[in-house]
Symmetry: C2
Subunit: 456 residues, 2 copies
Amino acid sequence: MDTHQHLDHYLETHLDESIAELSRFCAQPSVAAQNWGIAEAAEMTADMLRARGFQVQILPTEGSPVVYAEREGRNRDKTLLFYNHYDVQPPEPLDLWETPPFEPTIRDGKLYARGVSDDKGQLVARLFALDALLATEGELPCNVKFVIEGEEEIGSIHLEDAVREHADLFAADACIWEFGGVGQNDEPHQVMGMRGICYVELSVKTADVDTHSGLTGGIFPNAAWRLVWALNTLKSPDERILLPGFYDDVQPPSPRDLELLAALPDPSEDYKRSAGVKAFIKGVEGGLEMWKAALFDPTCTICGLKSGYQGEGSKTVLPAQAIAKVDFRLVPNQSPETVLRQLREHLDAHGFHDVQIKCLGGEHPVKMDPDDPFINLVVEAARPVYGMPQQKIPMSGGSGPGYVFHHYLGVPIATAGIAYPGSNIHAPNENIRLDLYLKGARHIARVVSAFAQSPE
Amino acid sequence: MDTHQHLDHYLETHLDESIAELSRFCAQPSVAAQNWGIAEAAEMTADMLRARGFQVQILPTEGSPVVYAEREGRNRDKTLLFYNHYDVQPPEPLDLWETPPFEPTIRDGKLYARGVSDDKGQLVARLFALDALLATEGELPCNVKFVIEGEEEIGSIHLEDAVREHADLFAADACIWEFGGVGQNDEPHQVMGMRGICYVELSVKTADVDTHSGLTGGIFPNAAWRLVWALNTLKSPDERILLPGFYDDVQPPSPRDLELLAALPDPSEDYKRSAGVKAFIKGVEGGLEMWKAALFDPTCTICGLKSGYQGEGSKTVLPAQAIAKVDFRLVPNQSPETVLRQLREHLDAHGFHDVQIKCLGGEHPVKMDPDDPFINLVVEAARPVYGMPQQKIPMSGGSGPGYVFHHYLGVPIATAGIAYPGSNIHAPNENIRLDLYLKGARHIARVVSAFAQSPE
């Protein structure tokens, strides 16, 4: 057997043990939004790393602690950093789970539990890959570090501080991101960027109490109307975002990005059918046009509206307060700080001094060079496992703290992992497929080996 | 003792019995919105009238039954109609009641219970006044009819059908309205009109499920945005309602109306202070200007907004559905049917075919001649009871089914009753003052006497 055959043999014969460890980890709730089980999950994370001979530090933050771990490898000149998180989404709505979210259960070749895919399964699959390397080679091929935070599901609000403060400690040559996996046809994906985000709560308060619309409709200011008028100034029905200067920093997709997008399959009809959407906005029909709009357009999304009476039937009330949740998705080289400033200036310029802005989270966009050698290494390492290299996707529609690592540590970031489109992350019945879990671990083991041997 | 002294003596010496009867009536829940106790309350209402020798019919409707009652009086050529309702507002929020809403309790000269002012106390005070007339004169001075519905708190949705169908049965020469009472300084009020209303629920559905804003923000239609843009076309920030033709039928206040408004006290500072409002809209400062805006401007009020995520913090969701509750208050000679048609046409003209309109209630405005002889009779009958005539208020900001009676029965409508500004109607700790209950009954007894003797 060659090295890879030894690795694969180890992984195939130890899968049950790894799944058992993952199940124990998933049985520990760790809901950051509800501050539920965070400290216990951080300890468990640390213990799993210590068991593999890692030096572990539990770094306090103003929120959930960051678990940092490092272990030296044969090639001490190369360091690979894994970014993961031990926190999970809230399990609600509970009644839609077929088995309880914190009682991991195997059915039909899948393991069901909250966090089993996002992100505990990703982390344990990586540990499993390292186990295989340690078992077959006696040591790790290169230095390996883990930065495992506990607030990813609430916007990584204290991660930037931690990375800035510990930039020397976390220093590495490359980074494997917390998510990764395959697409609709089990083809492995390489996602090479993340949009930024500026998430705000806009609120208006015009009175201390709701009043009777018959008595006050003609004379009192109405918080709901103020909010509607203010929102209307942010984006026009043709989807143009109206903050002055909003598009100034936008870098359009490069010819290489467009080439990569054009090579992707067109899931437009699937997207529409599965959500019950009749047509895309902006006249977008599908294909390259859809990919460009979905991944490279900055957006302004109303995520929620709340004011006054919301029950059945009628209640003649004039609302004292109104709230909108709004997210702006940002593309390179926009920044959440700039958008926040533009938003305040814009509202003031339109007379909406009464609209309060509360920033609930900001992340910068980040985008890798699609032809970065490390990315190509990860892409190619997939070939023997999946029968094909990873498909390169130049950007994700979603966001994440990629910029923090890219900016403070200067590392290229690649994705590799165990997720699949049916994983139901953030939803009831979150699950992983055991076959893809094994493939993901096989891929990671190959990535570490190849990285240790790659040129400087 | 003259007739009025006999009446007053009876009322003063039988107050406890009337309050006991009212308490029994209030102990019977009758929440139309929750279909709770309606049939029982209708029976109780009928029993109270039968006990006074009235012929009673419980008229079915498609909703709550209408209790109709009549008794002949000495002057068989004159018929006075009382309009009341036996249904009450929901008692929620329960935790804000000092004593349970359906356990009537006397404290500090006040009787507390849900419906004690709106409208059970008004009805029982009228029965009390008739008791005094029957006791002192042996018969009623004129014919008296009652139309007592059970859906006033949910928009009197089946009343118009009932009045149209039974117009001959309900025929009368004049009508006393279900509400009435005194103002801030215990001065009695005569309210001579009601604005109309067109209450709609606007809804947009752009998908079957909420989706992840990162994945879909750039390509999926957003129900919340569609609703905001549609609402924005209805009214501009200067409070101008933008439906074409909306103001065409508006009859401005007459010189007589303006004269009456100018004679009213200016409660502007009280209004603002009690609700915590900094300034009125439309540059209105107070006085006549305030009264004109509050009572004679048609309005378009957003009563509620609901879409997507409404919890604490952030959730990056693109909403599939959005709902707004909107009420239009109408002034003579606008009509809810016209506004509903204008609204549909307007939304369509602006491309908002996707905005659904559900009409949750419509009432026409109604306005009396401020110098109608019956109104003047009721106004003057207050003088010996309150030490002053009723103060004439040409219009109410609120709405009600006045038009139904005025239009189908041709009767003038006057207000007289027991309410006061601290009655907390529609709110926790609804109450009446026993001194004003007695005064209200004394006034009603005088109104019936005077009406029986008034010229044709």
